[in-house]
Amino acid sequence: MKALRKKVYMVAGYNTISMGTGRKEFHPKKPRPDLEHYIKEAGQETLKMIGGAQNVDEGVIGNFMASRFNKQANLPAFLPMIDEGLKHKPAISVEGACASGGLALASGIKSVLAETADVVLVVGFEVQNTMKAMYGADVLAGAGWMKTRKDGHAYFFPGVFSNRAGAYYEKFGREKTREAMAKWYCNAIENARLCETAQEFHNKNKDLESMANMPVNPKKFVDHLNYSDCSKVSDGASAIAIVSEEGLKKVGIDPKDAVEVLGIGQAAADITQEPENMTSLTTMKAAAAKALEMAGVAVDQIGTVEVHDCFSIAGIMGAEAIGFAEEGKGVDFVLEGHTSREGKVPFNTTGGLIGWGHPTGATGVHQAVTVWEQLTGNAGEAQIEMKEDRPYGMSVNMGGDDKSLVVIVYKRGE
């Protein structure tokens, strides 16, 4: 499909706090808000901005592993818990590992395109601090092919991306790559400090570089990554409304306070296969190309990106996959400051998965909310200046090791 057959907008985004280590209020042994709390908070706040539940035609819930983190399934039935007015409205839940949120957006977009709904409430959530990290790793390993779990690392996904980082070091040089990864971390934390819902909002460390440059510890963790190269273990939810032009009128929101979806690129790759190229996210590349093509937008017109930096190396390889740099040159792109908030394409302006947090099932929605905030001037302290020649935003949400991808291109509504 060259272009969307009708206009689709996103409005009224909301993020809860990303809760977990780093937040002052987080204590692993004390009781914390549950998944009901997060779904309600995010859903209700979005409903408030769109004139209440009566304006909603259907709902989508994005989540990865509530079935194991919280022993909870049948998630569509959580939609009416948000508001009585949602009772008996259609609801669906979607799962695609860490791309669950992005797929929830895709599902909402499709409902609008199919004209079964003018207003879709999309909520993504994950509550994963219910278990210690080494057990959480078992659960998150479900994003990979289970038959490779036995031979995988104790910390399965850090192991997977550590291998990718190792391959990247070997091909393009370790020292510079480590420098770029450290820079990626510093950018993430500096951005997170500007966003009060970010998990690293309270981070006061004056010497982030030393933190990022700590020697790796393969005995206790993985061969090529530090903790600072990894996204956080997070509890949180994000919500946004996906609406048609009619829907926009129905909820009474000015198009200028909405973002329009110009293009969406979805791609899946065979989970049972090893990556065809260890130093390139080829599925992400395909999805980004599709999204850009559908939007009719060139990569150098993109003014801000929310990229899936589950690991710093994935962020760098993401910049390459989108097309900002050739393979192996993503490190230079980052080191030259292009992805920093003053750079030509600020990436992950509220910290991304490393700084803001990674409540897995919520992440794709969180990315959309952040792009919506930036393009409509709702980003508060974290607001970047959108340049005229780069008016578009992009979100890149990835499930597993480059297996399930959702890329969306946005512009501010007119």
Partner: protein, 442 residues
């Protein structure tokens, strides 16, 4: 060194106690390394021996929780250990299998005869020479090849060795509380300790990743050699203050000085409560015969013991009433020794502060300083200021620091410790002090 031959059958005496349970856990980690990590074909048995059957049941719960924690921390290595077992896929499965496998090596017993089969006997019973001698000689008669590793904290090992007729098959193996976490291990080779046993004890300690400090076989060794004399000094200082201020304020002020102005993790009387007034008294009594020229006892301590004010901990780790009463680990009341009752801390706090008078303006806290890179600078500035102040508090603190230093130096001069560094290591690691007693601050 191949630890396997000696580690096949190991007994821990007093396994249900505070120290014994920790030592048992450490030994279970070591056996796991051999049996599961190195895939030794041998069968391993770890006997947990104690007089109380219910305590042994509780012990198994503690061991299981410690094994789980250990497995969680070492999951990367454990997955390698179990790489050949195709059924173990998730970390959780690996961890549970590890716990099950290690628990299967542990057997509980209330019978001393259980030790007759053991190659190694770890002992962590109370500090009672006669009891140790009685048990060891019984075991030795029935198990002539056994090696004894004793957690004795103050009694000279050589005396136990001679009286129990152990032929040099004993070494002092003094852990600090809690053994699983505390890195320090004082190893005390007595005059007759065999080289083979000594080498083995060092190799095992290294495998346990302990910081080893050798101590000469002199009652109290380094740790208690310092602590006991430090405590007696504090009691004497408190006694002097009590003449004018009363006991409650005296205890409180000396405790405050030893914590806040000496920058230690806890005050001296809180430490006595932690160890136990009773245990402190026993240790002093066990040391006294070796130092006839010194008075290693204190009337106040003895009378508190007689009045059943003993400190120590409940089974759940919470603190019993001693010099102080505590709530959630914080001091709430102070014992007024003269009146034989507790008074509220709040009622005396202001008076004590007024009496202590001027204190350094630079505020430093043990909790933050102890891990600070610039620790030495902070301490230097703080103690410099302390020396310059002429107040009751500052003068008491300086004298206290100087006395602590003198004790440390005495331990070196009398060759209990091989070096000032060893004394400092014991106090810094075993007692978590931010700096060693032998320093330039005092």
């Amino acid at each position: 060194m191949d630890l396997v031959p000696k580690m096949k059958n190991v007994s821990v005496l007093g396994a249900a106690g505070k120290m014994g349970s920790g030592i048992l856990v450490l030994l279970s980690f070591e056996m796991a390394k051999l049996k599961i990590g190195q895939k030794s074909k041998e069968d391993f048995v770890l006997n947990a021996i104690d007089v109380s059957q219910p305590a042994l049941v509780n012990l198994l719960g503690y061991v299981r929780s410690q094994l789980e924690k250990h497995a969680e921390k070492n999951i990367v290595e454990l997955r390698q250990w179990y790489a050949d077992n195709e059924n173990l896929v998730d970390n959780e499965e690996v961890i549970q299998q590890f716990v099950t496998d290690v628990m299967a090596m542990i057997q509980t017993s209330t019978r001393i005869e259980t030790t007759f089969e053991s190659n190694l006997i770890f002992e962590a019973i109370k500090e009672d020479k006669a009891l140790k001698v009685k048990l060891f000689s019984l075991i030795k008669q029935n198990n002539p090849d056994a090696w004894f590793l004793t957690n004795t904290s103050s009694i000279p090992i050589g005396e136990i060795e001679k009286e129990a007729g152990l032929n040099g098959d004993i070494v002092g193996y003094h852990f600090y509380n809690p053994p699983v976490i505390q890195k320090l291990l004082e190893i005390i080779k007595c005059e007759n300790t065999g080289d083979e046993l000594n080498d083995f004890s060092i190799a095992l300690a290294k495998s346990m990743r302990k910081i080893i400090v050798p101590s000469k076989d002199v009652a109290g060794f380094i740790g208690n050699g310092h602590f006991m004399r430090d405590a007696l000094y504090a009691l004497n200082q408190a006694e002097k203050l009590a003449e004018t201020e009363g006991w409650a304020k005296a205890f409180f002020m000396i405790d405050t000085i030893s914590r806040d102005l000496l920058v230690r993790p806890m005050g001296i009387f809180q430490l006595i409560d932690y160890v136990g007034v009773d245990v402190t008294k026993f240790i002093l009594e066990s040391m006294q015969p070796s130092f006839p020229q010194e008075t290693l006892s204190h009337g106040v301590l003895n009378q508190m013991f007689d009045k059943d004010v003993k400190g120590g901990q409940y089974a759940d780790g919470s603190q019993k009433d001693g010099v102080f009463k505590y709530q959630k680990g914080r001091i709430t009341h102070v014992y007024d020794f003269g009146a034989g009752k507790y008074v509220s801390k709040e009622d005396i706090e202001m008076d004590c502060a007024a009496k202590l008078g001027e204190l350094p303006t630079l505020k430093i806290y043990w909790k933050t300083v102890v891990r600070d890179k610039n620790k030495a600078d902070y301490l230097q500035k703080f103690f410099k200021e302390l020396h310059a102040i002429d107040s009751v508090g500052a003068n008491l603190a300086v004298a206290y620091g100087q006395n602590s230093k003198a004790i440390g130096q005495m331990l070196v001069d009398t060759e209990v410790a091989a070096s000032a560094n060893d004394v400092n290591t014991v106090l810094e690691t075993g007692f978590f002090h931010a700096y060693g007693p032998i320093n330039d601050y005092f």
